[in-house]
Symmetry: C2
Subunit: 474 residues, 2 copies
Amino acid sequence: MTDLSPLLTDLYQLTMMQGYFLSDLHRQQATFDLYFRRLPFEGGYAVWAGLEPMLDWLQGLHFAEADLDYLASLGQFRPEFLAALREWRFSCEVTAFPEGSVVFPHEPLLTVRGPLWEAQLVETALLNTLNFQTLVATKAARCVLAAQAGGGTVLEFGARRAQGPNGAVSAARAAFVGGAVGTSNLEAGRQFGIPVSGTHAHAWVESFPTELDAFRAYAEFYPDSTTLLLDTVDTLGSGLPNALTVAAELRAKGHELGGVRVDSGDLAYLSRVIRERLDAAGFPDVKIVVSNDLSESVISGVIAEGGRVDVYGVGTQLATAGGPGGGALGGVYKLAELNGRPRMKLTGDPAKSSLPGTKAVWRGLDHDHFAWDVLTLGDAPHEGLRVSDPTNPLRSARLTSRLHWRPARDLVMSGGQRTRPAEALPALQARAREELARLAPETRRLLNPHVYRVSLAPEVSELRDRLAQELRGH
Amino acid sequence: MTDLSPLLTDLYQLTMMQGYFLSDLHRQQATFDLYFRRLPFEGGYAVWAGLEPMLDWLQGLHFAEADLDYLASLGQFRPEFLAALREWRFSCEVTAFPEGSVVFPHEPLLTVRGPLWEAQLVETALLNTLNFQTLVATKAARCVLAAQAGGGTVLEFGARRAQGPNGAVSAARAAFVGGAVGTSNLEAGRQFGIPVSGTHAHAWVESFPTELDAFRAYAEFYPDSTTLLLDTVDTLGSGLPNALTVAAELRAKGHELGGVRVDSGDLAYLSRVIRERLDAAGFPDVKIVVSNDLSESVISGVIAEGGRVDVYGVGTQLATAGGPGGGALGGVYKLAELNGRPRMKLTGDPAKSSLPGTKAVWRGLDHDHFAWDVLTLGDAPHEGLRVSDPTNPLRSARLTSRLHWRPARDLVMSGGQRTRPAEALPALQARAREELARLAPETRRLLNPHVYRVSLAPEVSELRDRLAQELRGH
């Protein structure tokens, strides 16, 4: 399966690996941190996703003969290196936030420790999957929180606009972690057991002599799971009356119409009128589904305008994680330690310098709420500790007494093997839901959220400053 | 292989298929058109990509037992339908622009004709792949044309930010069609034979005692293909002098340094200074490679500011087709004819109504230049014909005499089989390059391009108007 290919990487990872191997530096013990510097969508949090598939990938990683043949064909790799790759396995230790956690900028989300040539190879694939799935899970959480404000839920409908066939499958998975209740994508349903759902298309209506014929046919075949699309001809003038006719016919036969869908027009106005007429006709349980270029801000707008929507089918914007601050998450993977010595990449901009050393991430809880994350070199932070902002050393504060600290990350791989069984997708979705509920409402806001505090313990900032001074002096 | 799964589709395609099957409507002859309504990136053209992989997919499409088992598990599909799916094959006729063509809004890019339940199933996968690859090929063409203005070329470097592992592979393929000369992605190199290239990372430099040690080691192992990354410590103060040392050492051994790369800072200024110093030191052939959040507008800016760049490594923006008007192409797939009768989807907005009937696309050439595309119901347009704008019937014009007309599309599948062998990727890239050269320079502009004319022959607009009147009266 291509998904498991070690060649899902950049050429330079392999040329560097060969270089390390030929220099006999490949077994140096390296520590790499994966993190991002800016939250997507101008929001207040991110939902960490993609970890479980990457642990599967790491655990099974090896070079098959076909992979080695391709590398040999490039003319840059020596026989002794290719022979070593044949035996190559991933034996590193991996520490990470459990999938579904809410996470923030500058904290190491995942740390790989082990031989340099192993930790280096996996950079590209880790970034690819974790960047994208975290981005989509975050987008989904935003849409779901927006929908919940009006009692609605979210379905992922984006396969036709997603980036690459498996981009659509990954997006459906990540959207589920972020809180979507299902997907239209059958392949995602099969691969991950995500509930699949759908309605019918305009072409269905156009393939019958009349809209009523089309509705009746669909209801006949799916008497207990019919959602009728109302806007092929005229939503309120034709679609809704025909749907009411079919709803009554279904009831006479002992079934109930599941829902109606509107894919165009003023969704707030139409859903309100449709709700009133369905209720008045005795169908208060028929769900209203809407679609058409939805996003978290459109959903909020529909609710603010009095829309009465049960299910939002979100397509393009969810599957491609579009909108302001979307499209790509800028996660990076940086060397933090080599052979026990801290390492950092210095840049002119302190916000872009990496944090050296092997760090622990502690999450401070105020009763049940997440209040403060602190990076240390190991031990839990303590009351009164003066901690500083990762990008602005001038901003510092003392930790208050009421916080209860717990480690935010787990050892998830040791010796290249999982330390515990894979977590099932519904458990990841539940974790995301629980953790989002522990954020302050102001941090969950769609726009202008309060910034969640992530700080450096003095030992981390001092190490960074000392190393920066050494590098500048060098 | 997942890529070939018939389940890369929305659930509703299958529930509709079963409905057609149970209604005995599944063998009705349907015609669907795939097209988009708006050019991406606020540009003047799109580069059509993704066709060849989709023809492979269509030709091999069938339901395997595992697919049928999954569908059966959903509890919505009847045994007689699942038995019919076991025998199901794609037998339609497909007409399309050859891959690599430049294309425009409202023209049917691909038309599927055949049994309704076949033509319906493939909608989601066709849209997914053709939307995304066309989007990326177009983005690549824009970057390549921008780079060419300064004599540079483009490499695709985006795997770590692409959407889904195979999104990265698809993006590398499409970028190559659009004119990128290579990719960093090994899996794309293997699958499609795209030239792979790369340099080294900052971590390479950090893994050696000094930058010079790191450069020397890399040059030792890759004496004929070394590109050195200059900005780990200090681009002009350390990276460049060390690179010059290594360039001289390589030359003494009969080799030449390939290039230097800069990944941060003022790329226009740095590339200019680096070019001067390389030239002055006797290394005029060492290439300058730049990267760091590049896009077509950043490339144009670097050139406008006097930058001297040979190769632009474009990552996130290319692999995710980001930027204004990017992220997703809104291609749609609409029923145009059923059992010989034209069909259309009427909407309140005439720009969103589909075009009924089986149409031909004719491209009018003025000498060697593409001048005008016209949609007819079959025959070539002729001099003096009054044609109209697809979205605004009030805008019409007469075709001038100097145009020479040729059909823009080919029959690419008949009876579900390719009518000709697959075209190789370099041929698609060459077509895109040639066709882009036939556009007016004003249409190729990055910003505010001239709008290329796409018009409807009177027979098409009259058919649409007649059908719209019938539907409204209905």
